[in-house]
Structures are given as structure tokens and as C-alpha cells.
């Protein structure tokens, strides 16, 4: 029996290779969030000062919607050819699979954010008044918060009718504190009015609590059939 991490690594490289060859999820996410950005630009035409107050919300809403596009594909891919059933009967740890999926989604969504952030900066003429380096921990922790719960709920919604519709309905209510943390943290850095430390701690707490909960309960969800 292979060790936990080698299973994780194998699944992760398989997912990345699949994505590299097809580029389904990444292309869909990129184009989707580009559309969201363009629609936001048409809807709001703010001054530089105003945009600092609203862009935190816009950025994260765009990323949240785009992430759902990728998360929906995570498990659907495994349903073809009964890969998931094979995984279920294998002695491999369920959490190894879960962790691989989360890491894969984390890489995809981070890549999307890295590509889309410059667009937001250009369209909204942004310049942070606070310490800009703190945006990095907020981005990483916020993305992890979205992706860890999103992967979990995507596995849960596999068992439901109209699967793709179900994921946002489950994910968004539980994500509210994380989204609040990301938006408020980003806004406070951009405006430079308040320190963002509390929001980073909040996101960290959220990540620790929900990563633990996901790892503890994923086996139940995977075996539920």
C-alpha cells in the first residue's frame, strides 16, 4: 500500500496533467471572470478614490463565481468510467484524494487570480494605500477557504439532482465569514484606513476550522452512495 502523500501526489499530478492537456476548467474560469470584470466595468465607473472602497468586493465576487466553475468539474471528471467507484473500493485513504483535489483546485484558482488581478488594477486604476504585501496572505488564505469547502461541497452535491446548481447553494452560505474576511481585509489594505491583521487571523481561523472539519468528515461523504 502506498503512503498517504504518494497517493496525494499521484492524484494531483494526474489532475494537473489532465488540465494541462484539456485546459477545460482553466479556460472556462478565465473567460468567465473576464466577462464578470467587463460587466463590472460597464456597471460602475468610479473615481480612483471610490474604487478603492468597492473593488475588494468586486474582485472577490468575480473569483468566487469563477471558482465555482472549476469546482463543479472536480468530481464530475471522476464519474466518467467509474473512477470514483474504483477509488471507493481501493484501500487508499479518502483524505489523500480529498487533499489532492483541494491542492489541484487551489493551484488553478490561484493561477486565475494571478492572471486576473492585473486586469482589475488596469481597469480600476488601483494603488494600495496600505501595506500591499499583506494582500498575499489574504489572497492565499482566502483562496484556500473557498477551495477547501468548495471541493467538499462539490463532492456532497455529486449525489444530488441538478448537481451544478447545488454547489453554490451549499457553498455560499457557509462561506459568508470567509468572504467578509477577504473583502474587508482587501478594502482595508487598499484604503489604508485600518490594519488588516484581524481579517488575516479570521481567515486563518476559518481555514483551520474548516480544513479540520473537511478532513474529519470527507470519508463519510465519499462513502455515501
Amino acid at each position: 500500500m502506498k503512503s498517504f502523500w504518494s497517493i496525494t501526489l499521484a492524484t494531483l499530478t494526474k489532475d494537473i496533467r489532465l488540465e494541462w492537456r484539456s485546459k477545460d476548467a482553466l479556460n472556462a474560469m478565465l473567460f468567465f471572470s473576464l466577462l464578470v470584470v467587463v460587466i463590472f466595468v460597464f456597471s460602475f465607473d468610479p473615481l480612483a478614490e471610490e474604487s478603492r472602497h468597492i473593488v475588494g468586493g468586486l474582485v472577490w465576487v468575480a473569483f468566487l463565481f469563477a471558482a465555482v466553475v472549476a469546482l463543479n468539474q472536480t468530481w464530475a471528471r471522476e464519474l466518467r468510467n467509474q473512477v470514483l467507484d474504483a477509488y471507493r473500493v481501493s484501500p487508499a485513504s479518502a483524505n489523500a484524494l480529498f487533499l489532492a483535489k483541494v491542492l489541484g483546485n487551489f493551484i488553478f484558482v490561484s493561477l486565475l487570480e494571478a492572471l486576473m488581478t492585473p486586469l482589475f488594477i488596469i481597469f480600476y486604476n488601483l494603488r494600495a494605500l496600505g501595506p500591499a504585501w499583506q494582500l498575499i496572505p489574504i489572497g492565499l488564505l482566502g483562496t484556500w477557504a473557498l477551495v477547501v469547502n468548495g471541493t467538499f461541497f462539490a463532492a456532497m452535491s455529486l449525489r444530488t439532482r441538478s448537481r451544478e446548481l447545488m454547489l453554490p447553494l451549499l457553498l455560499f452560505p457557509v462561506s459568508i465569514p470567509a468572504v467578509l474576511g477577504m473583502v474587508a481585509g482587501t478594502t482595508s489594505i487598499l484604503t489604508g484606513e485600518n490594519p488588516a491583521h484581524f481579517w488575516i487571523v479570521l481567515l486563518l481561523t476559518y481555514d483551520v476550522v474548516f480544513t479540520t472539519a473537511c478532513l474529519g468528515l470527507f470519508e463519510t461523504v465519499l462513502q455515501a452512495e
Binding site: N149, M156, R159, T160, R161, S162, M166, L169, L170, F172, P173, V174, I176, P177, L180, G181, A184, N194, F198, L202, T205, Y206, V209, F210, A213, L217, T220, V221, A224, E225
Partner: protein, 305 residues
């Protein structure tokens, strides 16, 4: 049991009428707000009832998950008892006592925490096996109804008193709204999921929701301290006559909630029994059909059309 239902229904109706009389006629008029304030006799009892029902839902869901394996069942029981002991003792330790916010007594914190093991053990005793899940559905549905009453009566009161329908930064409003959203998504999941494992998935979602609420509470708490909003003061004292009416009102609402839960519980049990009977019947029919056709001996084979 069945005969008790109509009697209890009549008693509850009378009790609710009495509570309404107390709230509209007997309770004194508020010096500042006038008669508008009387809506709290519906608003606050609904909120308490909804929170109680959600709490029961959470406990039942945890127990449903824990009961899947004997080892986790035992572990969960001891963990819950440990939480009860620590929670009952810790608030009285001087160092911890200083950490409590002003206006919160150690005894009230201890009683609240003690409710966790008490509810856990009682629910486990009276609702064994699948009944835990039936209880979870019932409390979630009835809880959402009461929570909706809270969210509707709140703005009706807030408009004349605060001058706004909704205070976005307020801690209680937002926490209640998020709680409502989580439980609506819980009901949607139950509705959309048709596999045999719906119960387990729903229980998992209830646990996630319960983990979420404290985080919402703390985030808004910080948010508000940064941006003051027009909200009601926390430390105001209440006229004892008003409190009296409020408690009567709450009792009446609890009776009403109990009644609704009871009938919903019975309905859900009956629905499952019917479903089970249908499944058994089709299974038996398939067996007969297979035997007649002399086909495979697999019991789950479809009967020939």
C-alpha cells in the same frame, strides 16, 4: 398519544390567545417607543424558539454521524460529557471569569454549556437510530419558519424605531440571517438529494453550519466595533412586568413549536413507513416475477414487463 394531540392543540391555542391578550392589553406601554415595541412579544420568543430548534437539530445531526460506528459513538458521548464538565466549572475560575464580557454571569454561561450534554443524552435516549434524522428534519423545517418570522418582524419594528429597515453591520441581524440561509440550504439539499445517504449528507451540512455561526458572529462583532451603527443597546434593563409577559409569550410559542414539531415528526415517520412498505412490496414482486419467469435468482432483478 394520539388522543393527547387535539387536547394539546386546544390548550396551545388558548395559551397563545392569553399571551396575545397579555402582550396587547396588560403589558405596559414603552416610554420611548410607544406601542410599536409590542412586536417584541412575537419577535423575541420566535427567535429563542428558532435558536432552540436549530440547537436540537445540530445535536441530533452530530449524534446521527457519531452513531454510525460504535467507537465514535462512545467517544462522542465522553467528549460531550467532558465539554459539560469543563463548561460548568471553567466560568467560575477567576482568570476565566475576567475574560467574560460585562453583563454575562458565570452561572448563566455554565448553564448554557451544561445544556449541551443534557440535550445530547436526552435526545440520544428518546430518539434512537433513524429517529434522530427524523428529528433533525423536523426541527430544521420548523426552525426555518420561526426564523423567518424573526426576520420579517425585525424590520417592521426597526423602520419606525431606528428609521431604517435593516442595519447591515449589526451583529444579531447578520448572524440570524446567515443562520437562516444555512438552514434554507440544508432544506434545499434534503429536497434535491434522492440517494439513500441524504441523511448523512444533511447531518454533515448541519455540522458545517454550526461551525460557521460563531465565525460569523466574531467577524461581525469586529466589523461593528470599527463602524458604529444605530443599534439597540445591549445592557438595557427591562421592566419586570414586560419580562413577565415576554416569558409567558415564549412559553406559548414553545408549546406551539412543540405541537407543530410533533405532528411533523409523525408525518415524516409515516412517510418513511409508506416508502419502506412500497420498497418491500416491489422487492417481493420482483422476487415472484423472477421465480415465475425462471430467470436469475438475483432478488433485486427487475420484474419482467
Amino acid at each position: 398519544m394520539k388522543r393527547a394531540f387535539p387536547i394539546l392543540a386546544v390548550l396551545t391555542a388558548l395559551f397563545l390567545a392569553y399571551a396575545l391578550y397579555e402582550a396587547l392589553i396588560v403589558a405596559p406601554t414603552d416610554a420611548l417607543q410607544g406601542d410599536v415595541y409590542r412586536i417584541i412579544y412575537y419577535h423575541v420568543p420566535s427567535a429563542w424558539t428558532a435558536f432552540l430548534l436549530f440547537f436540537i437539530n445540530f445535536i441530533a445531526s452530530v449524534q446521527y454521524l457519531a452513531d454510525a460506528k460504535p467507537s465514535t459513538q462512545r467517544a462522542a458521548k465522553w467528549i460531550v460529557i467532558a465539554i459539560g464538565i469543563v463548561g460548568a466549572v471553567a466560568p467560575f475560575i477567576p482568570q476565566v471569569r475576567q475574560q467574560l464580557p460585562a453583563g454575562l454571569y458565570p452561572s448563566s454561561v455554565a448553564t448554557t454549556v451544561l445544556a449541551i450534554p443534557v440535550f445530547y443524552l436526552l435526545i440520544g435516549k428518546f430518539f434512537p437510530g433513524q429517529n434522530l434524522d427524523v428529528l433533525a428534519v423536523t426541527t430544521a423545517e420548523v426552525g426555518v419558519v420561526f426564523c423567518t418570522i424573526v426576520l420579517v418582524t425585525g424590520p417592521i419594528w426597526a423602520r419606525p424605531v431606528w428609521g431604517i429597515w435593516w442595519a447591515p453591520g449589526d451583529i444579531r441581524l447578520t448572524s440570524t440571517l446567515v443562520l437562516w440561509l444555512i438552514y434554507v440550504s440544508y432544506l434545499v439539499l434534503r429536497r434535491f438529494s434522492d440517494s439513500a445517504q441524504t441523511q448523512k449528507l444533511a447531518a454533515v451540512l448541519a455540522v458545517f453550519g454550526a461551525l460557521d455561526v460563531p465565525l460569523v458572529y466574531f467577524s461581525i462583532w469586529f466589523f461593528r466595533t470599527q463602524h458604529p451603527q444605530p443599534v439597540i443597546g445591549g445592557g438595557g434593563s427591562m421592566d419586570p412586568r414586560m419580562l413577565h409577559v415576554l416569558l409567558i409569550s415564549w412559553l406559548a410559542f414553545l408549546c406551539f413549536a412543540f405541537l407543530v414539531c410533533w405532528s411533523r415528526f409523525r408525518l415524516e415517520k409515516l412517510r418513511r413507513e409508506v416508502e419502506e412498505a412500497y420498497a418491500l412490496e416491489s422487492l417481493a414482486g420482483a422476487e415472484d416475477g423472477a421465480r415465475q419467469a425462471g430467470a436469475t435468482s438475483l432478488p433485486l432483478n427487475r420484474s419482467p414487463r
